[in-house]
């Protein structure tokens, strides 16, 4: 195979790992609370600024900046739920989605006020790794591994803890949960905080690869929604797999055309998939 194509595929898989985290976060929140956080990418943006600020301005070690970023964005997710979504829980779904859409402007505006519109770079670069004929970016590889670890941690939590099991249960039947002593409001809060935390983790992995600016959410937000829908809203495994599929589509599309066209192709694929499998690729 053409080494450049191979490289594109490998990069696509690495990219999919980074897409996977926001997709898991969105699916978690959607599955539990039944709301699509339209501002999810902006939560990631705030996390990126958080790491950038702590590392380059406050002089924190990078690892510590990462460690702080997770709970900060997790808290932001919780705040988003409590302040914006919770008062609207009994409203039509569209108003909930739109309210989180309004938060896009709030977060973009806040970021601009705090840090201006300049592109901010972390200035961290790892040497590329050469395997056979292809070069793999060290940062991307580390990000990929970290994303898989994050996804694994989430899976472990959902599979083996009481709260995690309750989260998987509530996605199917929220009315019956109080009979088991589960307070749905608490579960909503936990899911929102974890959803935010995943955005924080995604932020850590993205900020080493991309410059951060207030509108960066727009560059990967839409595709994360597409991936979620492709995998089936609320379907964690489906979303996880679709993330890699989309990553490869984008990456190989970039190999044949250019980056923008690759996104056009990816979105077009998405629409076609929706027509073929309206409930997602992996709907049962």
């Amino acid at each position: 195979m053409d080494p450049f194509l191979l490289e594109a595929i490998v990069n696509g898989i690495l990219l999919g790992g980074v897409f996977a985290l926001p997709v898991l976060g969105l699916n978690l929140v959607f599955g539990v609370v039944d709301v699509v956080w339209l501002c999810y990418a902006e939560l990631v943006m705030v996390g990126m600024y958080c790491v950038w600020f702590l590392y380059t301005q406050a002089g924190f070690p990078l690892a510590l900046a990462f460690l702080v970023c997770l709970p900060v964005v997790g808290l932001l997710g919780l705040l988003l739920h409590q302040v914006v979504v919770r008062p609207l829980l009994n409203s039509p779904p569209i108003t909930q989605v739109l309210a989180t859409g309004g938060v896009i402007f709030v977060l973009q505006g806040s970021a601009m006020l705090a840090f201006g519109t300049d592109f901010r770079s972390l200035g961290v670069e790892m040497p590329p790794i050469e395997v056979e004929d292809i070069f793999i970016s060290g940062t991307k590889l580390v990000a990929f591994v970290a994303a898989l670890l994050g996804a694994g941690a989430l899976w472990t939590f959902l599979k083996f803890t009481y709260v995690g099991t309750a989260i998987r249960a509530i996605a199917r039947d929220r009315e019956v949960m109080p009979l088991m002593g589960v307070d749905p409001k608490r579960i909503y809060m936990v899911a929102s905080a974890i959803g935010g935390g995943l955005a924080g983790l995604a932020a850590c992995l993205l900020v080493v690869q991309l410059d951060v600016h207030p509108y960066i959410g727009l560059s990967f937000g839409p595709i994360t929604f597409m991936i979620c829908v492709m995998g089936g809203l609320g379907n964690m495994l489906g979303g996880f797999l679709a993330a890699f599929l989309m990553g490869v589509i984008v990456s190989t599309g970039g190999f044949w055309w250019n980056t923008e066209m690759s996104y056009v192709v990816a979105f077009a694929c998405f629409i076609v998939v929706m027509f073929a499998r309206p409930r997602g690729l992996f709907a049962r």
């Binding site: 009481y162 249960a169 949960m177 009979l179 088991m180 002593g181 589960v182």
Partner: protein, 239 residues
Amino acid sequence: MEGAVLRLEGIRAGYGDFQALFDVGLTVSPGEAVGVVGPNGAGKTTLLRVISGMLRPKAGMARFGETDIAATPAHVLPAVGIAHVPENRRLFPHLTVEENLKVGAYIPAARKRFAERCAYVYDMFPRLRERRHQLAGTMSGGEQQMCAIGRALMCSPRILLLDEPSAGLAPLVVAQVFELVQRIRGEGLTVLIVEQNVAQVLRVVDRAYVLDAGHVVAEGSSAALAADPAIRSAFLGGH
């Protein structure tokens, strides 16, 4: 009745403008098995929903031991000792049997005793032990009913509320389910069971209430009710 563990007086409840229960009173003593029977739409399920806190009564008193049910959030009641097996079982079909039990053991007190309670449930329903790693949704109706009861038993309840445990099951399985109910009784648990299947339920309970259009129209020991000509003609087809 003195020493009643569950006591309802003058309960009025409903959904929106629709009133389903009118001044319903009911008592259950510890260790007793009590049935609530009546035709479809009589308000039986509504009554159980009031007891498990899923529905706030509009008026009346509902106490479980020292707990004022009407003033307690539904999710607190399992810790007080009320377990409700809802209509249609409402299992989590995409979770395994054991995961369903795990959700049933969500409250802190139950988590500590998870292994012990699990063994208890599996001993009571060996079939569940065989199928512990199977998805609940793939089991037969009778097995699902076992799982639903097992899930409710995980929190070591003092009273078990059963809503139409025989609904949608084949006659042979219905007999098995009532056998289960008797076994649970044998464990010394207090049971309140709502059923349309009057003949069967009167065989397993000590006393029963007859509910019709939201009113208690008759109550008494199961033997007395089974002998009552009005009840016989209304529910038992005269035999």
